[in-house]
Amino acid sequence: MASVIARGTGLAHQAARAPGVADSPLARRILIGVSVLFLGAMLIAPLLTVFGYALYQGIDRYLAGILEPAAWSAIQLTLLTAAICVPLNTVFGVAAAWAITKFEFRGKSLLISLIDLPFSVSPVIAGLVFVILFGAQGFLGPWLRANDVQIIFAVPGIVLATLFVTFPFVARELIPLMQAQGTGNEEASVSLGAGGFRTFWRVTLPNIKWGLLYGVILCNARAMGEFGAVSVVSGHIRHQTNTMPLHVEILYNEYQFVAAFAVASLLALLALVTLAVKTAIESAVARSARLAAH
């Protein structure tokens, strides 16, 4: 199905382009040149700068920057945060997308708006909300203190803030996909006698696996890279509540450029890996679509 549509629009494009400025080589070159220049200035140059600064005093200084205990504990905290947030948001995202696209219920549009909330709220505000809720001067602060529970300025606060910010990624990726797929397959499955759970595992999940993976990757990238919200709730305690992005800022402010860019290069590497996995997924999707068409 999908490939048919793709081929159809491809034909439409060719048909539309033919009578226009048909391949004026100059216009084409200018357009390509502008795109390449812009990409170079906005994406590639900054990326190269990160690696250049990180490595310009040699690989030893680079490794020292990454293996230094404070950097290492920041890396661990970032991995831990992502390891908690990504699975939780994946489960939530699938559940929400399934509910929204396969069922009719009251308050559905409200639920969609709520899922979008973290996209529209500034991360700093998100962090402040948690301080107002759980901070010593906040609504729950006195109770938490009395029960010796520390949320803000500790790992739970960082996880909560990251959870909030990365909340929409999986759901937002799945909802349009599942809407396009409709409920036909599920209806067929149920009418053939499968239960709801089995229908989900055997019919819905295989249909959405690539979209789901894509959403998980984006969610993970943001969970590891989040700065604003985490900065507000972190407390910046070395070895304890500094995530990688926060550690980069601290190192930079302390004139430790090599170490700062070394840690930053790890985050950049993560982005590159994300990009590679995303490309691999897209080509896998295209391949499976071709197979389905044959």
């Binding site: 001067q137 520390q150 300025f153 070395r238 601290i250 930079y252 004139y255």
Partner: protein, 347 residues
């Protein structure tokens, strides 16, 4: 293959969880302190903490570990108010520690009288950084208002540290106002002087760090106003030979203050060690470490040993010149204050 991958991921997760839990105290014989400080003290305490821990171990047999938090002084105070469990705070100015008393009541109103020298074991002041060789022959504050001299200083509305630059200039002008002026006339003279200085600022950066970049890396401007300790740190870190320090005839005395946070040490049972820690800052060893990390020590003998590093100058305090930092904040930096008024006019 798939299972192997999954096990690997689980293993990594468990390892990081375990590592995350590893930092807690184990047993009677160890104790930890959280020192919530501001940005430029990082190296001082990195150097000082292990020495105090060693002294504490010799005295009590207790293993002491430190946790440090650095950030902007105002936002660090805010974090303590909101529940960051600081045993001690070592912040840029008493105003921020006062806020912890006023807004959260974590320490008493008279906290500043509990330690010598206004609870400020080390001090700093505002000096000038100029290009090597001092090509424009900048000697004192008057040279900063000369036409054509470009001064780099951050916006005092957004940078806490930069308020001291502003107050130092204003205070200098008050001290050098013509004798025949009355109080109002002296203030008007100081306002005019400070306005002329800020008219020479080509770029008003948001924060001290950005302003340092403007001056040192982008090479914009002739004079950079800076805290003395940060100027020395910047020269040291960014490579000597590009810039040098000029100490003016008069400047402002900056008193970074330290305090034990009573409510927290009493709950955590760390009062004795926290008090001993702050007292250590006043010992000869502590003073020497402060001097080595570019803060002016209070101890005259130690200061004498670092004479070359800290040339003498006349220093005035915020209290005597402006009636306290709170009052200075209200008059000069709050919305609609002195800075806003002359800055609006100059646009």
């Amino acid at each position: 293959m798939k299972r192997g991958l999954r096990c690997g991921l689980l293993g990594a997760l468990c390892a990081s969880l375990l590592a995350g839990c590893g930092g807690s105290d184990d047993g009677e014989n160890s104790i930890s302190l959280l020192n919530v400080s501001y940005d430029p003290t990082r190296e001082l305490y990195q150097d000082l903490n292990p020495r105090f821990a060693e002294a504490w171990y010799r005295e009590t047999g207790q293993n002491l570990s430190f946790r440090m938090s650095h950030g902007g002084s105002g936002s660090q105070a805010r974090a303590v108010i909101d529940g960051l469990e600081a045993d001690v705070v070592t912040l840029a100015l008493s105003f921020d520690v006062d806020a912890i008393h006023q807004r959260a009541g974590l320490l008493p109103a008279d906290w500043q009288q509990r330690l010598p020298d206004n609870s400020a074991p080390y001090t700093s002041t505002i000096v000038f950084l100029v290009r090597t060789g001092n090509p424009l022959n900048i000697r004192d504050w008057d040279d900063l208002v000369r036409p054509g001299v470009q001064v780099i200083t951050p916006n005092p509305k957004t940078s806490g540290g930069a308020r001291w630059n502003y107050l130092a200039a204003w205070g200098y002008a008050l001290l050098n106002a013509p004798d025949d002026l009355d109080e109002e006339g002296r203030q008007a003279y100081a306002r005019d002087f400070t306005a002329r200085l800020y008219a020479n600022v080509p770029i008003l950066d948001r924060a001290a760090r950005a302003a340092t970049n403007t001056f040192v890396q982008r090479r914009i401007g002739d004079v950079f106003l800076s805290w003395e300790n940060e100027a020395m740190l910047a020269i040291n870190e960014l490579g000597p030979g590009q810039v040098e320090i000029v100490v003016p005839s008069v400047s402002i005395l900056a008193e970074p203050t330290v305090a034990v946070v009573d409510a927290i040490v009493d709950r955590r049972g760390t009062r004795a060690v926290a008090e001993a820690y702050l007292n250590f800052l006043y010992t000869e060893e502590g003073q020497e470490l402060a001097a080595r990390h570019y803060f002016r020590p209070r101890n005259a003998e130690v200061l004498g040993r670092f004479r070359d590093q800290f040339p003498p100058l006349n220093l005035f305090t915020v209290d005597e010149m402006f009636g306290g930092f709170g009052e200075a904040q209200r008059v000069h930096f709050d919305d609609g204050g002195e800075f806003d008024r002359f800055f609006e006019r100059s646009r």
